[in-house]
């Protein structure tokens, strides 16, 4: 199993395709950072237009912490595509190359194979997020400096003390890793059903796009199914950036407004991963390798 896992990682990181994702993230984040460096003031004014009419927000709003939040908000919509690019190719790509046939004549159990392959995709996903963290957080902190974090939520604004931010990002990235691993698990499951990688990649993205749209739309009909869509839970990382207030409406540093929600979403995502990977294992165990 360990050997198999190492081999899978080796295969992932010997393929040029793998590095497309890292390059894409570098480019995407670089573009956002450049844009905010040059025209950040205008962006901030645009976002805060309504707020600014009655309040003066004083201080270095466009600091690294805020930039990272903006980047994550934008990026975590696109990262699933990059995850799907690898995860949805894990089985189908091997089937396409014909190597699945060769692998399956080796003394490896099919469950081991599935678990090793999924673990390798999860490691890829996590490495990708670590790369995002380096680019979006650490690099932004270097370029834009650090200060208190000011963010606008849909019905209120939050100010978080500079020394109370970093651990929230650590948590947010862990949560994002869980969310993206769910995407990887979905892509991985779908990769069982085709002998080419395009189909599963497109299918994975379609599922995520449709679910995200359903999650975003505030239509009563859809509201009922929202809690069951894993995409609704994928953005719960933002809960890390909401504080509890005391009776004096004073933000309490080190608190999270709704830790229960975070916990619930994490559990829902975890359950999805288990179901997706479990289904992949059960299906693959019975699958005839015809490629």
């Amino acid at each position: 199993m360990w050997t198999l896992f190492q081999i899978e990682l080796y295969k992932i990181f010997r393929r040029p395709r793998t590095y497309i994702a890292f390059a894409a993230i570098t480019a995407l984040i670089g573009v956002v950072q450049l844009g905010l460096k040059v025209d950040g003031k205008e962006y901030a004014e645009f976002v805060m237009a309504d707020f600014n009419s009655s309040f003066a927000v004083d201080g270095n709003i466009l600091n690294g912490y805020f930039i990272c939040y903006v980047v994550l908000q934008l990026l975590l919509v696109h990262v699933p595509l990059l995850i799907a690019l690898i995860a949805a190719d894990m089985i189908s790509g091997e089937a396409n190359m014909g190597t699945l046939r060769v692998l399956m004549t080796k003394p490896i159990s099919r469950w081991e194979f599935i678990l090793a392959k999924f673990s390798a995709s999860a490691v890829y996903t996590i490495l990708l997020l670590i790369w995002v963290a380096i680019q979006a957080l650490l690099l932004s902190m270097l370029i834009f400096g650090t200060d208190d974090m000011f963010i606008m939520k849909s019905s209120y604004a939050v100010v978080i003390k500079a020394d109370d931010v970093f651990w929230r990002y650590a948590g947010a990235f862990c949560f994002a890793a869980l969310a993206m691993t769910t995407v990887a698990a979905l892509g991985f499951l779908l990769s069982l059903f085709a002998d080419n990688s395009i189909g599963p990649i497109v299918a994975t993205m379609s599922v995520i796009i449709v679910s995200t749209i359903l999650s975003t739309m505030s239509i009563p009909l859809f509201n009922a199914i929202k809690p069951y869509l894993f995409t609704s839970h994928m953005i719960t990382w933002k809960e890390f950036f909401d504080l509890k207030v005391n009776d004096m409406n004073e933000a309490i540093p080190g608190t999270i407004q709704n830790p229960q929600k975070l916990w619930n979403s994490a559990m829902v995502l975890m359950a999805h991963i288990i179901v997706f990977v479990g289904a992949a294992g059960i299906i693959f165990k019975r699958k005839d390798v015809l490629s």
Partner: protein, 215 residues
């Protein structure tokens, strides 16, 4: 036009002003708390600068602060130290178990942003305990002052600044938040006045401040 029944309170105001006039300038450090229903902010540290007649600056000591626009800079002292107003008696009122003289100040200048200021004055100590200011641009503000060690200079230990807040909402597309805010939060946020509280720790009075600080 002068109201016939109203007694001219200029004398009282001038007494208060005279007390304040001992202070040519001051700097003070304090803690500021922003209490607006839809803002969650921790307590921030601020530094305040004042120089006669009407230079005033509130500077945050690092971090990010949110202040009602125009509000805090409408300084009671700067109103009172301009001579150009009409002061009318509006009777007495009890505030915090203390009988206070209510005085309405009307600026004479037509282009003044301040339309009307109502002051609640402790006549015995010559301290302004509360001031309500109506402005053209930024609505109505209320200030309540509590005095302690620096009462002799007419400088408060604590100022509570109240103002009306409009509801605000951001389009969800910008924030990418999918859930609606629950009803409890919504209720909490409705129809509450916003407050900014500044608690001053120490004043440095008449040490001289260069005008460039206020730029």
């Amino acid at each position: 036009m002068q109201m016939i029944t109203a007694q001219d309170m200029t004398a009282l105001i001038n007494k208060v002003k005279a007390k304040m006039d001992q202070v040519n300038d001051y700097t003070a450090e304090g803690k500021m708390k922003t209490d607006v229903a839809f803002i969650k902010a921790p307590i921030g540290r601020v530094k305040v600068f004042y120089k006669k007649p009407n230079l005033f600056k509130l500077q945050r000591d690092g971090g990010i602060s949110i202040l009602p626009k125009g509000g805090v800079t409408v300084n009671m002292r700067s109103i009172i130290t301009t001579n150009d107003f009409m002061a009318l008696d509006a009777g007495e009122q009890v505030l915090n178990a203390q009988k206070l003289r209510v005085v309405k100040l009307l600026p004479n200048a037509d282009n003044s942003d301040v339309i009307l200021t109502t002051m609640y004055i402790d006549e015995a100590n010559l301290l302004v305990k509360k001031a309500v200011t109506t402005t053209r641009e930024n609505g109505t503000y209320e200030m309540e002052m509590q005095y302690g060690k620096f009462a002799g200079y007419g400088l408060p230990d604590k100022v509570v600044f109240s103002f009306n807040t409009k509801d605000y909402k951001l389009p969800k597309g910008i924030t990418l938040e999918f859930d609606d805010v629950d009803q409890e939060t919504k209720n909490r946020m409705k129809g509450k006045k916003g407050r900014v509280e500044i608690t001053y720790a120490n004043y440095e009075i008449n040490k001289g401040i260069h005008t460039s600080v206020f730029k």
